[in-house]
Amino acid sequence: MAGFAIASLIGIPTGILSGRSSRICAVIDPFIHLLRSVPGIAWLPLAMIWFGIGNRTSLFLIVLAAFFPAYVSTYQGARNISPRWVQTAEMLGATRQQILMRVVLPGAFPSIETGLRISLGISWAYVVLGELTGVNSGLGALIMDARMMGDVIIVMVGIICIALLGRISDLLLQFLLHRLPGHYAGRTGREEIL
């Protein structure tokens, strides 16, 4: 959870800035995509040297892996904001900061939501991965123990639990996002035109 929250808190603002400023984009975007092409698991040895085996390594890997979807989709959403909206805000007297907060952020919201859902899924995957490799409690650890005992049933039960919990967390995230003020995805075009 903490890993996902940190990743979103870094990913969304950098995505917005990078999507709206070609200068910021030129500096950080190539660098981020270079890092993105490294599979998360390849960081494991380095993380183990830095943080040892355990929760902090897990946290590091989750933040790293969950950051990219949040960043990339926020970036795309911010970049695709209709220029008309920005012009409209300007002529209604909005400052640049107000345009970011009142137009770009809500306008990019549908993309941001997609990114966050993917990020959360990845976070969850890395939690389990951490438990499979280092952390010795949790569902991942349970599966590994069961494997040692040769108990396939427990392994299967573990997998089903992981799936259910992943789905529940996704639904919970959507539920929370849909309660944010300014949320409008899914509210467009569903009802009849007056």
Partner: protein, 256 residues
């Protein structure tokens, strides 16, 4: 037509777009265009499509800069966009995540006004009473343009720029909207620059019609509209209206 009374001055204004993708010569959109408009005047710009009509509005609004020449609005050079110059676009420009009320209050909110104006008066003015809490996707095209108009009027702009605002509406709604624009202009008295390619619309609304040539746009004729204000829907029925329409069509044909 001179001195402090002038709302808009376009003097020898040219606009070239140099970043053509195929590396050809720069595309010249406006060529040394000169015109002016008095305070409170309703000017309609007519011309063939693609002749740079919208570019004129974009320059006046501060969205684009001219390549050469001078542009002043109320005696000041046009800098960045401001709430003094409001623009209505052809397509929907409402923020889909805000209700009608919050769309209209966007300007006052941004300025951090403590006592927000009463939006009911503005909704009544544009004939949409009771729609405060609706989201834009539940409104028809004509209603959206009414909200866009109310959203501008709440800022009390001195200059109203309209870029084929009713081009996407059906004929009946269009006529209603034209009458609405007349009544709004009578009430607030802003200077209006209105771009269209509909001759009837031009004659119905304008004090003066500027006819542009094909690209690069030059002023090819100016037709004053011989009708007094206030006007209403009956102006469309008069013989003088039809004579003026014929005259404008003729001038338009000669210009292309």
């Amino acid at each position: 037509m001179n001195g402090a009374d002038q709302a808009i001055r376009f003097y020898e204004v040219s606009k070239d777009f140099s970043n053509s993708p195929d590396g050809k010569a720069p595309l010249s959109v406006l060529h040394r265009l000169t015109f002016s408009a008095g305070t409170g005047e309703f000017v309609v710009i007519l011309g063939p499509s693609g002749c740079g009509k919208s570019t004129i509005l974009n320059i006046l609004a501060g969205f684009e800069r001219q390549s050469s020449g001078r542009v002043s609005v109320f005696g000041l050079e046009v800098g960045s966009p401001s709430s003094e110059h409001g623009m209505i676009f052809q397509e929907d420009s409402l923020f889909p995540w805000l209700t009608v009320k919050d769309n209209i209050l966007f300007g006052p909110h941004c300025r951090g006004e403590k006592s927000l104006p009463d939006i009911r008066a503005y909704l009544e003015l544009v004939n949409l009473p009771g729609f405060e809490e609706f989201l834009p996707h539940r409104l028809s095209g004509g209603m959206k343009q009414r909200v866009a108009l109310a959203r501008l009027l709440i800022n009390h702009p001195r200059l109203l720029l309209m870029d084929e605002p009713f081009g996407a509406l059906d004929a009946q709604t269009r006529e209603d909207m034209q009458e609405l624009v007349l009544s709004v202009q009578m009430k607030y008295g802003p200077t209006v620059v209105f771009v269209t390619h509909d001759v009837d619309e031009a004659v119905f609304l304008a004090d003066r019609i500027l006819i542009l040539s094909a690209r690069p746009a030059r002023l090819s004729a100016v037709v004053p509209v011989p009708a007094t204000r206030p006007r209403d829907a009956r102006w469309r029925e008069e013989a003088l209206f039809h004579r003026t329409v014929a005259e404008v069509r003729h001038a338009l044909k000669k210009s292309t």
